[in-house]
């Protein structure tokens, strides 16, 4: 449940992450902007050069992200799980003239798009992201804070899930064939939902009793700041994209996919 743990805010203090690294301490909005820019550019074309160059540049920037190799591996394995089957499937099932090249193009793309996302999630505290979204991106604070509070409940639900699993074994449920396992899983999910709704209702009452949920103006205990460093990071992201696309154009592989 480490993924849920990260959502709970525990990722920040987490092992192998240096929160003072230049990219890690940047405003979440800057990180989000870079991540989105890279994604949008790389979905335009499916070729080896743009994805390869982007990934190469990302790896060069990695030392400034504050992620130790162990922390990166623990959070990045999902990319391998996604990239390898995608690449193999494209190579085997695709109708391309150069199956290996298109498989590679897809695989590299998943890495190049996914890596900034992994860094963003690993180095960003949800609270800081919410602060930035509400204060700087001007998203409605009621929506942002409600989402933030419900994310904290995710961590609680992870514990509930473990308790449910044991409690149902104690009732004699589960442990049969595949059909029964699926049914048991569904039952646990339903129970989790019921518990989540109850907890959510109490949480909502607590928040409301502390003045949340009206359309009146509120203040922010911590100011979300955008500084020169954040501007440099966004410019760096744009440069990365420009170099990757430029390289692909120069190599003649840039080929915009239009659905």
């Amino acid at each position: 449940m480490s993924a849920l743990g990260a959502l709970d805010g525990s990722g920040r203090a987490g092992n192998g992450i240096d929160p003072t690294a230049p990219l890690a301490r940047a405003n979440p909005l800057a990180k989000l902007a870079v991540s989105l820019t890279i994604s949008m550019a790389l979905v335009l074309s499916v070729d080896v050069v743009s994805a390869g160059v982007a990934l190469g540049l990302e790896l060069l920037a990695l030392p400034w992200c504050g992620l130790a190799p162990r922390a990166l591996a623990r959070r990045g394995w999902i990319l391998v799980v996604a990239a390898v089957p995608a690449a193999v499937a494209t190579a085997v099932l695709g109708d391309s003239d150069a199956p290996v090249t298109s498989g590679l193009a897809i695989g590299l793309r998943v890495f190049a798009i996914g890596l900034p996302g992994v860094v963003l999630l690993a180095t960003t505290d949800p609270t800081d992201l919410a602060d930035a979204l509400a204060q700087k991106a001007r998203l409605p604070s009621r929506f942002v804070l409600a989402a933030l509070a419900s994310m904290r409940l995710f961590g609680v639900l992870a514990e509930e899930w473990a308790a449910l699993t044991m409690a149902r074994r104690a009732r004699g449920v589960g442990g049969g064939g595949p059909i029964e396992r699926v049914r048991d899983w569904g039952g646990r999910l339903f129970a989790l939902l019921v518990l989540a709704i109850r907890r959510g209702a109490v949480l909502a009452t607590t928040m409301e009793s502390r003045g949340f949920g009206t359309s009146r103006p509120r203040t922010w205990a911590r100011e979300s700041r955008l500084g020169v460093g954040d501007l440099l990071i966004v410019l760096g992201g744009l440069a990365l994209v420009a170099v990757a696309v430029g390289a692909a154009m120069a190599a003649g592989t840039w080929d915009i996919v239009i659905a």
Binding site: R152, R168, G172, V173
Partner: protein, 504 residues
């Protein structure tokens, strides 16, 4: 802590009906609370205590005079804080940067809003539009006052239940409310945590001089903290009020009959101590347990066991690993070290280690009752819930039906046979969760805090039932903080000190 302007409460013929319900949750309520006065609300479940607190907190918005989508129900009469309707008082306070009423609820995990301690306390201040430079000093003072000294950045998910309640208390305190509303704030804490939270609340009330309305089942500890006790009856409003000693003298018997833990009237059940040491059912040999796969070992070096007709109680402070040990004995957590071995009395299947058994083999031998009954419910009605186990062990439909009917009757749940388990009251859920485990007639029963937060009626029913099971030759293991329960049932006590466990 600076003093606040205490609030005066005036209720005149007040009533509230939730939007989706036909019946009124509260009706015809008259109550006056003077500024700075502290009142304990008592009454059976369904008398509208929590609804009254929600109303005082300004969280109930009636359809009269408001836009329809804001309304959560219908009201009658008046509920005033310093002469202003409670819901309007709440909104007016938002502009004043200081809440009129502060609410503390029961469930520690559901009252933490944000991921860091400092932010969680600051949340209410932000909503009240307090200026940034004022927020942090107020947050720090509030955290200091409740004795949470981990710092502003400490992650809230690392706090214990008692600490989380303390954090919620700080979140309310920072808003400097003139009225404190406490809805069973200690009922989910162990006795030590509850006592400490209570003493912090006492300090806060003494120093701020705020008015306070508290709802609690266990009145003994609160009696010395309040000036007045008010008894509510379903649909009847306040039926009795006065000084704690006066009310307990006048209405003690009736309150006890409703399940209130009235001082000096705690339920007494005559039990027979297990005299015959029967055959060994379950043994732990040099056992160590970790509560979760990646967690550190919570308890180690345990060698103990339970025999037929014996009640073994596991006691010790919070974090001493009582629950983990109970779950390991129940075959639900594999040992980190050592073994749990079923004795011949349990007729073990192919292996003697319960954690390797299939769920179906486990359920007819060892029954485990969890602290939180809701975790164990798997069916849509109470009757079906009781039928799950018997079906799993291969009883015929006829036999299953007889067992279900028998258990429903014995635990006073017959009229709820068709009800959804999740909709039952806390006491009913507890009885049902015990009944589900009994349905397969296991020889060993493991119970994790079975009396936690229960009213006196459910408590007595449980003790009677457990005593009966012991007499029939079952072996019982209970992890508990409940001293009164120990005095009634324990044949042997295993004391787990915080850290290094030993046996006595």
């Amino acid at each position: 802590m600076e003093s606040v302007a205490p609030v005066r409460i005036t209720a005149r013929g007040w009533g509230w009906r939730h939007a989706s319900r036909a019946a009124w949750a509260v009706r015809g309520l008259d109550l006056d609370v003077a500024p700075g006065e502290r009142v304990l609300l008592l009454g059976p479940s369904g008398s509208g205590k929590s609804t009254l607190l929600a109303g005082l907190a300004g969280l109930l918005t009636s359809s009269a005079g408001r836009s329809a989508q804001d309304a959560t129900g219908e009201d009658e009469g008046e509920l005033l804080l310093d002469g202003v309707p409670a819901d309007r008082a709440r909104l007016a306070a938002l502009d004043a940067g200081q809440a009129r009423a502060g609410l503390l609820l029961q469930d520690p995990t559901a009252q933490t809003v944000l991921a860091r301690c400092g932010d969680d306390v600051a949340f209410g201040l932000e909503n009240h539009a307090v200026a940034r430079h004022e927020i942090w000093p107020r947050v720090t003072r509030a955290l200091d006052a409740v004795g949470l000294r981990y710092g502003l950045e400490h992650p809230t998910h690392r706090l214990s239940g008692g600490e989380r309640q303390r954090l919620a208390l700080a979140g309310v305190l920072a808003l400097r409310p003139g009225l404190w509303l406490l809805d069973e704030p200690t009922s989910m804490l162990d006795p030590d945590g509850a006592a400490r939270l209570r003493s912090t609340i006492a300090d806060v009330l003494a120093e701020t001089g705020a008015t306070c309305v508290v709802v609690e089942h266990r009145v003994e500890a609160w009696a010395e903290l309040v000036d007045r006790v008010a008894v509510l009856e379903p649909g009847g409003g306040v039926v009795e009020q006065g000084s704690p000693s006066g009310v307990f003298a006048a209405a003690g018997e009736r309150l006890a009959a409703h399940g209130v833990w009235v001082p000096g009237r705690h339920p007494r059940v005559s039990t027979r101590a297990g005299s015959t040491a029967g055959p060994s059912l379950l043994e732990a040999r040099d056992l160590a347990v970790r509560p979760a796969r990646s967690a550190p070992v919570a308890v180690r070096g345990i060698t103990t066991g339970v025999r037929a007709g014996e009640v073994v109680c596991l006691v010790g402070p919070n974090g001493s690993g009582k629950s983990s040990l109970a779950l390991a004995l129940g075959g639900l957590i594999p040992p980190a070290q050592g073994r749990v071995v079923a004795g011949p009395g349990l007729e073990p299947p192919d292996g003697a280690e319960p954690h390797r058994w299939r769920p179906r083999e486990l359920v007819s031998r060892i029954g485990t009752v969890f602290q939180e009954p809701q975790h164990q419910f798997v069916a849509a009605t109470c009757a079906e819930e009781l039928a799950v186990g018997p079906r799993r062990v291969g009883l015929t439909p006829g036999e299953t039906e007889t067992r279900v009917a028998d258990l429903l009757a014995r635990l006073g749940l017959t009229r709820l046979a068709r009800a959804n388990p999740f909709t039952l009251s806390g006491g009913e859920q507890r009885r049902l969760s015990v009944a589900t485990v009994l349905a397969t007639r296991p020889r060993v029963l493991i119970l994790d805090e079975p009396t936690f937060g229960q009213d006196a009626l459910t408590w007595a029913a449980l003790v009677r039932l457990l005593d009966e099971l012991r007499a029939q030759g079952a072996g019982l293991v209970m992890a508990t903080h409940d001293q009164w329960l120990l005095e009634h049932l324990a044949d042997r006590v295993v004391v787990l000190p915080a850290g290094d466990p030993g046996t006595s």
